[in-house]
Amino acid sequence: MLELKNVTFKALDADDDSQSSSVRTIIQDLSYTFEAGKFYAITGPNGSGKTTLAKLIMGINELSAGKIIFNGTDISKLPIHERANAGIVYGFQHPARFKGTTFRDLLSIALGSEDEERLIKLIARMGICSQDFLDKAVDSKLSGGEIKKIELATVIAKNPQVAIYDEPDTGIDLWTIGPMVELLKREQQEHGTTTIVVSHNRAFLEAADTLLLINDGKISYSGDLAGAVPILEDLSVCTFNEQCQGDDDAKCYR
């Protein structure tokens, strides 16, 4: 359904002193096929390429090499909006905040309709009861939880075949994660949405049919959570201690 063929992404990597730059490979010759209607979780260490991979699928990042085939069509060169209209939608880890634009505006764009009844039905489907919430400005005054709720709602409103959620639990309190997982599972089951969640959160990893472990720009494991646990535990042991510690210039090299 969604096939990644030898996908590679390289980016300019400016050195700390900004005097020189080099090309860094972030995703390396990665191939994988996502099946229709399944729930995937993509996890892995920070900087392993999870978000980059998700953005490559959406077209936010351009491929350096390889192909992305969606429902039999090569979408590698399609711009973001054409991929969105073809059925792929992406929920950002750090959603944009606007000035003047409301939740209603975003929802209407996603839904392709300003019909009040449809909008209310839609927010009810997401467990948002208050109709006042529709006219909230999507600006810097929103809490982390509210903006994430809006982000998720706009993805669902687009009724995607493939919904990609990049760390949907960022900024969300512990008590909200359970209902969020349930919502995404419900969307997957009732609407057949192929769901791809980039997350470190165990709740999402447990909810997934398949877990993809990305390390160093490659898939190092795909399968169920039980099989991934030993690898994840191994990855959680840091091997850079000698490099990162010190009185001067302490930082994380992972």
Partner: protein
């Protein structure tokens, strides 16, 4: 009688499909075109200067008054002095604005000098829209001045909009806000081509517990330029906030200068200002919902200027 151009201008400026209901005064090319008063709102010609005096009786509620200006005479630079006296406890909407229709090579301009005396406990919503239409090459110039004097516990909400067609605009807003009174100013300006817009604001919080919120939203397209200045002075225990944001597109230039002056130890004044292009994350979000680049830009601007 309204001709086709008059109707078009009235629609753009005041959202009117024809002659408004209730009190109104329509000025065209420096002359009175039509006037109607109501039981509570009197409009009369000012005997001392070219202009009108709008007198709203105390306690008048849920009434509106329209005072649009139409300018379609080449070479005319109309200056008008209007005074509004809003009686105690009144709650009214005033729809003003000027529309220039320029059909020739000569410039046309209008300077509306409006003075508001808002009495105790009165509530006013003032909507002023400036537009310029027509295929002529003459410069379209609009230089509005608004002076507001608020007694205690009054409220005024000013929506000042200029969304295109005006080549040159020099705005001056002045306000003195009395005890417990609130003034909210929202200014929205979009310029394009070689247009220039300049807005200067002198706002004084003079009474205890007076408040103001000044919001400016600017969109600067083409080679146009916009400058926005606010001097917010507090001489009492009060609260004031300035929020000015400018989106630059193409080669537009902008100067935004919010200034705060506290002359009282219990004054609380804040400001935030930003100038920049449309944020990339906003564009990405709308494109990921299916809008192409141009449609995404339009939607962001539309929201910003709302």
């Amino acid at each position: 009688m309204l001709n086709v151009i008059d109707k078009q201008v009235l629609k753009e400026v005041a959202g009117l499909e024809g002659i408004p209901k209730g009190a109104y005064n329509i000025r065209k090319d420096g002359k009175l075109l039509g006037r109607e008063v109501s039981a509570n709102i009197n409009i009369e010609t000012n005997p001392e200067v070219d202009g009108i005096i709008i007198d709203i009786k105390p306690g008048t509620v849920n009434e509106s008054v329209h005072i649009p200006v139409i300018l379609s005479q080449a070479g005319l630079h109309d200056v008008v002095y209007n005074t509004f006296i809003v009686g105690e406890g009144a709650d009214v909407t005033i729809i003003a604005g000027c529309g220039i229709h320029c059909g020739g090579e000569e410039s046309e301009g209008h300077s509306g000098i409006h003075e508001f005396q808002i009495k105790a406990g009165a509530k006013v919503r003032y909507v002023e829209k400036h537009v310029a239409l027509g295929s002529g090459s003459g410069r379209r110039i609009l230089n509005p001045t608004t002076k507001v004097f608020m007694e205690e516990n009054a409220q005024m909400e000013m929506e000042l909009t200029q969304l295109g067609g005006v080549d040159e605009a020099k705005r001056f807003n002045e306000a003195k806000i009395g005890a417990g009174s609130v003034l909210i100013i929202t200014e929205r300006v979009m310029t394009d081509g070689n247009q220039e817009a300049d807005s200067r604001n002198e706002i004084e919080l003079v009474g205890t517990d007076s408040r103001t919120n000044i919001v400016a939203r600017s969109v600067i397209k083409g080679n146009s330029s916009q400058d926005f200045y606010v001097n917010l002075t507090a001489s009492a225990k009060c609260y004031g906030h300035i929020e000015c944001d400018a989106i630059i597109m193409d080669n537009g230039i902008n100067q935004t200068v919010p200034a705060l002056r506290a002359l009282h130890p219990d004054a609380q004044l804040t400001h935030e200002a930003s100038i920049g292009k449309i944020a990339n994350d906003q564009l990405m979000k709308l494109m990921s919902l299916g809008l192409d680049y141009d449609a995404a830009v339009n939607r962001i601007i539309q929201g910003f200027l709302r």
